[in-house]
């Protein structure tokens, strides 16, 4: 089994305001893993510790406790950074540069040849729909254009791991769709993506893994398909249901919905066998019995509720 692309082990980070004597815990014993090739959503309310985690992961901050490994190295190690493309939250670029010159600057920082830039940069600018604006100063760009340029610089050095902090922030619906398509393409290419976002419906479509953080603690972590399965309810699809059975199911707290494919009966896990057997006994054709699948939003709200973070 390959080693994780990202690994947090018991990571703790406390912000200290020495003059005010304040200590604000941003992360508390956070542990999680992201395997190579996975697209992982990193979710949580504002101030939950998402950006702190990303800053620790990139080596911008130091953890007070615990261990972090990125692509097998410590955060900030240039061997790890060679494999990472990063888009910061609310990132800023040198306003006096043009998009082309900024990408050339980053190309040089990535240690790549100037000749590579000549072919890669126009392709990237086309990919993020900035063709025609490459000679305009970034200071004159709209928020969405800057964000798209940020995505382009993150993709510049053909990274194996992409760390994206709110990549769709400031983008219009077309821009969001572009980013979503881009992430799908990256998944197809086998790249690892670690993505922080508040857009749960989009995340649900793209991501394989989800990590939910709240008040600096990892409160839910796992594969998307596993987490979205509700452990306490099942869905039974049958061709029909008799009025007597319908009454009985409802008395047991079951829910009955009629659709084109048949009648969908949702019952608690405790009544699964009894209900299915009753339906068979009554001559109904049971098409399937499946665990109920929540939406990511339902899972998120159930996990985090209306809580906010503290840091």
């Amino acid at each position: 089994m390959s080693s994780p692309a990202i690994e947090f082990r018991e990571v703790t980070k406390v912000y200290r305001k020495i003059l005010r004597g304040l200590e604000v815990p941003a992360l508390t014993h956070a542990s999680f893993q992201v395997m190579p090739g996975e697209v992982c959503a990193f979710l949580g309310p504002n101030g939950a510790g998402k950006t702190t985690s990303i800053n620790l992961l990139m080596g911008f901050f130091y953890a007070d406790y615990g261990e972090i490994r990125v692509m097998g190295y410590e955060p900030g190690d240039v061997r790890a950074k060679r494999q990472i493309g990063f888009l910061p939250e609310n990132f800023a670029f040198y306003k006096y540069l043009t998009a082309e010159r900024l990408l050339r600057f980053h190309n040089a920082l990535a240690g790549r040849r100037a000749q590579d830039a000549a072919t890669v940069i126009p392709d990237l600018l086309t990919k993020v729909r900035l063709t025609g604006y490459e000679r305009l100063r970034i200071g004159k760009y709209s928020r969405g254009m800057v964000q798209r340029l940020g995505v382009a610089q993150a993709l510049l050095a053909e990274p194996e791991l992409l760390v994206l902090d709110e990549p769709t922030s400031g983008l219009d619906p077309t821009g969001r769709k572009d980013v979503r398509d881009l992430l799908s393409a990256l998944r197809t290419e086998g790249k690892t993506v670690f993505l922080s976002s508040h857009l749960l419906s989009e995340v649900e479509q793209i991501c394989d893994r989800v990590i939910i953080i709240s008040r600096g603690r990892v409160v839910k972590s796992g594969r998307m398909q596993d987490l979205l399965v509700a452990a306490d309810r099942v869905e039974i699809l049958v061709t029909g249901v008799t009025p007597e059975l319908e009454l009985k199911i409802q008395e047991q707290g079951g829910i009955i919905a009629r659709g084109e494919a048949g009648v969908v009966i949702t019952v608690g896990i405790a009544h699964k066998r009894e209900t299915a057997e009753s339906l068979w006994a009554a001559g109904m054709d049971v098409i399937h019995v499946m665990p109920v699948r929540n939406s990511l939003e339902e899972l998120y709200m159930k996990t985090v509720g209306t809580e906010g973070g503290v840091a």
Binding site: N55, M58, G59, F60, F61, Y62, G76, V78, R79, K81, R82, I84, G85, F86, P88, N90, F91, A92, F93, Y94, Y96, L97, F105, H106, A108, L109, A110, G111, G150, Q153, A157, V163
Partner: protein
């Protein structure tokens, strides 16, 4: 290549810094104001008073260039502190440091970028010194390398000081701290008022500890005549410049150490 890119980027950011442009305009205005007395000196020079007029002109140019040179010290310290602070405050440092760039490489790039700008400043300053004296029909006796190397070493100290304090506090506070440090250095240097004998150990200790730039003033060579210049030996130059470079390197290493352990977020 990475450091080179950072140097060029820092140099370019200087040219877009309004405060830097303002200081350059101020320096240019002061030099232009000098033209009037220099032209007067030229017209008043006769064969009989040539030597006296030359001494007066050199003193005048030395005084004005000392002011321009002092502005350069402020520019070097402010430039270094602001180059770092603006990256941290705007967040541009995050995208840069996400690249395979080590922290010391980033800081060295910033430092060399400031020094590259100061080199241009010194070249212009040197050209002005020669130009102003030539306008008055006189000549500078000091060798050009003195007017180039001495201010560069002095600015290297100020830029390194700017980086040391810039990793800790806001550039405005940095400038206040550097000013206080300069005053303290003068306060404990030779020629300052007499300290109580009981506190002489403190004065001597501080004198050796604090980075002094008094001897690194190129202005003191501007007004010297050929005979006096010959008295400044290579050994004296080497010791003075070596001391200055040593100070700059120690301060830069301090800045690197501090920058390595700080978070890349402006608190």
């Amino acid at each position: 290549m990475r450091i080179g890119s950072l140097v060029l980027n820092t140099l370019e950011s200087f040219l877009h810094n309004r405060l830097v442009v303002l200081v350059l305009i101020l320096a240019a205005c002061v030099v232009l104001l000098m033209l009037v007395p220099l032209m007067g000196a030229k017209s008043a020079t006769t064969a009989a008073n040539q030597q006296g007029m030359e001494a007066a002109v050199l003193e005048m140019v030395s005084g004005v260039m000392s002011f321009v040179s002092a502005l350069g010290s402020i520019l070097a310290a402010w430039g270094a502190a602001d180059a770092l602070h603006s990256e941290l405050k705007s967040g541009t440092v995050l995208a840069v440091m996400a690249r395979p760039v080590k922290r010391w490489e980033f800081l060295l790039g910033k430092y060399l970028g400031v020094m590259a700008f100061m080199f241009c400043y010194v070249l212009v300053m040197m050209g002005m010194s020669y130009g102003l004296v030539a306008i008055a029909g006189m000549k500078i006796h000091a060798a050009p390398w003195i007017l180039l190397v001495y201010p560069m070493v002095r600015y290297a100290i100020y830029a390194a000081l700017g980086l040391v304090f810039g990793t800790l506090v806001h550039p405005v506070i940095t400038m206040g701290m550097i000013l206080a440090l300069s005053l303290l250095t003068d306060f404990v240097g030779p020629g300052s008022f007499a300290w109580k004998p009981k506190l002489m150990w403190l004065k001597t200790g501080l004198y050796y500890l604090l980075p002094s730039t008094n001897l690194l003033t190129e202005g003191r060579f501007l007004s010297l005549r050929q005979a006096a210049l010959k008295q400044a030996t290579w050994l004296e130059h080497s010791i003075t410049l070596g001391y200055g470079l040593d100070c700059a390197v120690i301060l830069f290493v301090l800045a690197m150490w501090r920058f390595h352990y700080r978070s890349l977020r402006q608190d």
